[in-house]
């Protein structure tokens, strides 16, 4: 007799996904790049490369370098801008049932709010992911996501202008990431996703020059997984909204670890480069795990970490969103 299949579906705000596996922004293009190799409809959600109001050229090359256990990238958020995305990619994405989440960014609060607003009532876009790891050019280039006051302001401004489910993507470049998750929750985010890349650099010792043209870049891949896991665990204990875990997923193992630590969903990034079908393998592996552990649904696994010790929850409720 066939056993009933476990229920993999998850809900992020008003967004229902058939399974918890999404693509990490910037590692999957806008969809068509992978569509010749796989059926995009099998994904939990498609998260596209970061979009800004105006087209952005990004950084000079080299933009990417492999390092032990991962890679550094300094793409510089190259993208065709809102109009380019709507013209060149959205019609393609509308052919798919998988929800499309647009990752957005800006250099000022106003830019963030304006780009968010433009996605309202645009058929084919099902949610926004707010990348707050960008520098605020009006405030000396400090990243929005590393300053509690700026984070509060940008999330509040975007929330006020969008009707779509809003996922705030957290920067790991902070002392206590849960604090920023609580800010996101208090300011109206429907979910938080973490982590973005770690600032890092690599040097060509023979030439005594940085390998990346941008000098520094962001570290991603297997090397960051265990740090991301700790951050996801801390964050899931601090907020009630769903947490989306990412960082170094190469197989169902790392994805399951995020889920056990408290993530409701996960995103696969760097692994798409070496194995373009990673996302599908992760979905399959999660399903097999649920069957093996006789769990009826993915929800039954979320946050089931047994620590055997009483660990005080992180500091009280988030401050109200000013």
């Amino acid at each position: 007799m066939n056993k009933p299949k476990p229920d993999l579906s998850v809900r992020i705000g008003g967004l229902v996904m058939q399974n918890p596996v999404m693509t990490a922004s910037g590692t999957f293009g806008y969809g068509p790049e992978f569509a010749r190799l796989m059926d995009l409809n099998r994904l939990g959600a498609i998260v596209v490369k970061g979009i800004s109001l105006k087209p952005t050229q990004g950084n000079p090359t080299p933009r990417l370098v492999e390092v032990p256990g991962g890679l550094l990238n300094a793409i510089g958020l190259q993208n065709p801008g809102f109009d380019g995305f709507v013209r060149d990619y959205l019609p393609f994405l509308r052919h798919y049932r998988a929800p499309v989440i647009v990752n957005i960014w800006g250099h000022t609060i106003n830019e963030y709010a304006s780009i968010a607003e433009r996605f309202n009532d645009l058929p084919g876009v099902h949610g926004l992911e707010l990348n707050i790891s960008c520098p605020n050019i009006k405030h000396g280039g400090i990243a929005f996501g590393t300053d509690p006051k700026m984070a509060r302001r940008v999330i509040t401004a975007v929330r006020a202008r969008t009707r779509l489910p809003l996922i705030t993507k957290l920067s790991p470049n902070v002392t206590v990431i849960a604090e920023f998750a609580r800010i996101a929750e208090a300011c109206g985010s429907d979910a938080v996703s973490l982590i973005n890349s770690f600032p890092a650099m690599a040097i060509d010792i023979e030439a005594r020059r940085p390998i990346l043209a941008n000098i520094t870049g962001g570290l991603t891949g297997p090397a960051i997984h265990t740090i991301a896991l700790k951050m996801v665990w801390e964050t899931a204990r601090a907020v009630k909204i769903p947490v989306i875990g990412m960082g170094g997923i190469t197989s169902a193992r790392e994805a399951l670890a995020f889920i056990i630590a408290g993530a409701s969903a996960v995103a696969v990034g760097t692994a798409n480069f070496s194995e373009p079908l990673s996302t599908l393998a992760v979905i399959k592996g999660i399903e097999a795990y649920l069957v093996r552990h006789r769990l009826p649904s993915i929800r039954a696994l979320v946050g089931t970490l047994e620590t055997g010790a009483v660990i005080p929850k992180p500091r009280g409720p988030g401050r109200p969103c000013a």
Partner: protein
Amino acid sequence: MLIENTIILSHRLLKGGYRLLTLKSKRIAPMVRPGQFVHLRLPSPADAVLRRPFSVFRAQAGRLAILYKTVGKGTQAMATLCAGDEINILGPLGQGFPNVRKDTLPLLVAGGYGMAALYLVAQRAPVKGIVFVGGAGADDILCADDFRRLDWDVRVATEDGSAGKKGLVTRILDAWLNKELHGRQPEFFACGPNGLLKAICKRVGRGGWDGWISMDRHMGCGLGACLACVQKVCKRDAAGRETWAWARVCTEGPVFACRDIVWD
């Protein structure tokens, strides 16, 4: 374009640290066009987060060969593979060279492993042409005999003079263009270091000819998604002014028309 698990049929050490890797590839090999490449997954994925791009050297009847030089940790890991081992490839990727036209004289210009990317051009061309190949020394002159077997004229230059004429490949090319072109219409197909490609484009521009170059860029996905591999190309803006835009070497390239490249 697809992903295929292939089996290594043979793996031979050539001179100069180059190796010839022949794979059994039922599905990808028949699809390959000259100048396209495959993205190869290393045998030890534990410490390699990225695949490695290689031009397809030969492709026929379910076999695909690449010609590569060991230069770093990925190619060193590849060098340990033996016949019978499995290797995963993604391809064929990118836009290859256009078909050689009957009414032109194809001139292939290569440096180092650039020869690998050009072999299929010669093999599938409807007319014979000339191959100009250069390298540091005799050990860098690869597969010249493969081209001779196709009845192509091969002209060699080495910097140390250990094979062919002493000097850069552009030197023998220039001498030939001055003395032996005889008003014919050449069309260039080049692959090699950036300096060589730039030198070829300069000559192509001056002569008002057609020329195609295959570019080499560090790659991430190979699929057009990560935007790591970009190259500046000419573009006209809405007002018709000349400006530039990024093109992805893995997707719009690796072969570009000389006239489209913006050199920094």
